[in-house]
Amino acid sequence: MAYSELIKSFGRIRTYLRSFYVYGFRHRDEFTEKSARSYDNERRRIESWLGDYMSFRQDADGRRVFLSVDSRSIPENPLYRAFRAKSFTGRDITLHFHILDILSSVGGLSITGMMDELSDRLSEFDPDEPPDESTVRKKLREYAALGLIKTEKRGRETFYVLSGDRTRISSWDAAAAFFSEAAPLGVIGSYIQDRLPEKFGQFRFKHHYILNALDSEVLCALFSAIGQRRLVTLAFRGQRRIVLPLKVFIGTQTGRQYILTWSPAHDRFSFIRTDRIDSAEAGDVFEFPAGLKARLDDFLSHVWGVTGNNFSRLEHIEMTVFAGEGEEHVVRRLEREKRCGTVVKVDDTHWRFSADVYDAREMLPWLRTFTGRISGLECTDARVIARFRGDFETLAQMYGGNNNAVS
């Protein structure tokens, strides 16, 4: 099959984009999931979509390709371009523009009327034969499902009418520019921006994880299932699991997104990373069991981030932090960064954070950010203290006590 810039399914390109963007150290022969030719084609496509952001390095092992972007310096997520690369047939694009044009000229039409108009239009071209009626009918149904057209019954006939837009899109320019980057499924906002004569380009985004955009199709299916309270079958890492999706957990510091699910078979809450989900197929509507909402709220009040489950034991953790005079910012940090638990003043220079959580090990990275100020650390899970202490000792050895210790 001849090479094309366009692709049929988005799933295939996710892995390559992720690898070029997150890792960027792999050479061609390390992409072993598919053939070398596949790699060449995907790399060429990505280069075609995102050429401005691609970098190359030649080293002893060969050439490396990577995507490097300071997402703070750009007004829009460049990875959205990949969503604009869906392949189509010549007939798709012919019908798209002619159907929308015909309907905006003549208003509602039956399938017979539409076929007549199309025959008339397409007779100007070589080849001049119109598409068959079933193809046009199928396209009209597809466009009705997308919301581009509406169907109306007039007598015994179905008429197709262009959907009317009453929304003044121009008034959405700044909101679309902002929420395209700062709300879930922002790629849809970027589609709306494509409709504007001019984009509002004066927002910038700090701590902005653009990679989450690649999970948009999965996320959209999950939101839909949450809204309709449907079970979903998730395909991930070679498994299939039937679960009730409850909430999407978005990391603003980790670059990861998770879906919190409840399994009816195991009565278990668990988190699954959305970038590992290949597909989410909606199943039956599921009646929320009595008491589940209260149990969910209780579970969430003891979750630090995205690990743990309702079968784990709650662990108690306490960290005492030193903050001297003029160091109130340290206390403010504790207050604003704690996700559960409490902060109490112990004396004039010490504050204690304490919480009961399902998985205290998940807190280790946060605890380490207070290195230099921790005057007390206790946890009912002894492994947490042991790991913290062991890691700190390694760190101290790594940096040594003199200027030549790190080499």
């Binding site: 366009l6 960027g24 879930p184 380490r368």
Partner: protein, 307 residues
């Protein structure tokens, strides 16, 4: 359906080209320029050929088209549902979008479906009418290229008054805060919106030039244990970076960051513990070492609670 050709670059390019063709103003050169503007790097090899003639049957070789109207496409249901979802977001108060036509639309998601689990809890107060008014003044100044008078409170409780040329509104997802990035008095200003007390259009435009933010580089080696490679690279993925493999489990990462964010960078690097070893620059190593030394003096980890 998010991944669909109706949103695609080829359709966008075709619509822009056909718009000009309907107006009778299309030239071959313009056709090529519209493809370059709306489509991809290699699209010039396919889009013009597809459009002109029997393949897509939208335009004749003489660049005329049988279309009677400039192409336009109604909003899709998915787009409307996304817009409706935004109306449930507290930040929508900062904007003033037209809601007509969205009355009977189901939102694609609602705030209770998402949890920003590691977001700081002292974000901006979007419900404050004064905040929203100041935000809108800044937005208008950005649209109309107007300078702004601002009075704000600094972290040290001083209250400077300035006339600045606004350049961007910067939003941090982690902090849930907006900042105004502006130029004035020969320097670059980044002012938290929540600290702005007064904000109005200036009497005259000075059009001060924005000086680029000063950047620094930190280089560290990374030991890939407990999935540290992925955690670290994802965590820092929003920065300009380069990663090199040193051996089977060790990598060298070079990160570029805004110099004013250095304390934050120190903390973020420390959060990975001994999985990361900073190797350059010496000044940054000194900052890490300082915290380690302070911690050693505090001796906080009781041995009786250990394994």
């Amino acid at each position: 359906m998010l991944f669909h050709e109706i949103y695609g670059s080829y359709y966008l390019a075709a619509a822009a080209i056909l718009r000009e063709a309907v107006r009778g103003k299309l030239t071959g050169r313009e056709l090529q320029s519209l493809v370059r503007e709306h489509a991809f790097g290699e699209s010039l090899m396919t889009v013009p050929d597809g459009l002109k003639g029997g393949k897509w049957r939208l335009m004749h070789k003489d660049l005329s088209t049988p279309l009677e109207n400039e192409p336009s496409m109604p909003l899709t249901t998915t787009e409307k549902r996304w817009m409706k979802a935004l109306l449930t977001d507290p930040r929508i108060r900062l904007f003033d979008p037209d809601m007509t036509g969205l009355e009977d639309v189901e939102p694609l998601f609602t705030p209770d479906m998402t949890v920003y689990y590691d977001r700081y809890s002292d974000g901006d107060d979007y419900a404050d009418p004064g905040y929203a008014a100041r935000f809108r003044t800044i937005l208008q100044a950005l649209r109309e290229n107007r300078d702004l008078y601002v009075l704000f409170e600094t972290g040290k409780n001083t209250r400077p008054e300035l006339v600045v040329t606004p350049y961007y509104l910067e939003y941090s997802e982690k902090d849930d805060r907006f900042r105004l990035v502006a130029a004035g008095r020969k320097r670059r200003w980044t002012i938290n919106l929540s600290r702005i007390i007064e904000c109005a259009f200036a009497y005259e435009n000075r059009n001060s030039r924005l000086i680029a933010a000063e950047t620094d580089t930190v280089v560290f080696e990374l030991e890939d244990r407990r999935n540290a490679l992925e955690r670290v690279l994802l965590h820092f993925s929003h920065l300009e970076k380069e990663t090199m493999r040193l051996d089977e489990s060790r990598y060298r990462v070079t990160l570029k960051y805004d110099r004013r964010d250095e304390p934050e960078m120190v903390i973020r690097i420390l959060s990975f513990g001994s999985a990361i070893r900073v190797t350059e620059p010496e000044r940054f190593i000194g900052l890490i070492r300082e915290r380690i030394e302070k911690q050693k003096r505090l001796a906080a980890f009781p041995t009786d609670n250990a394994e």
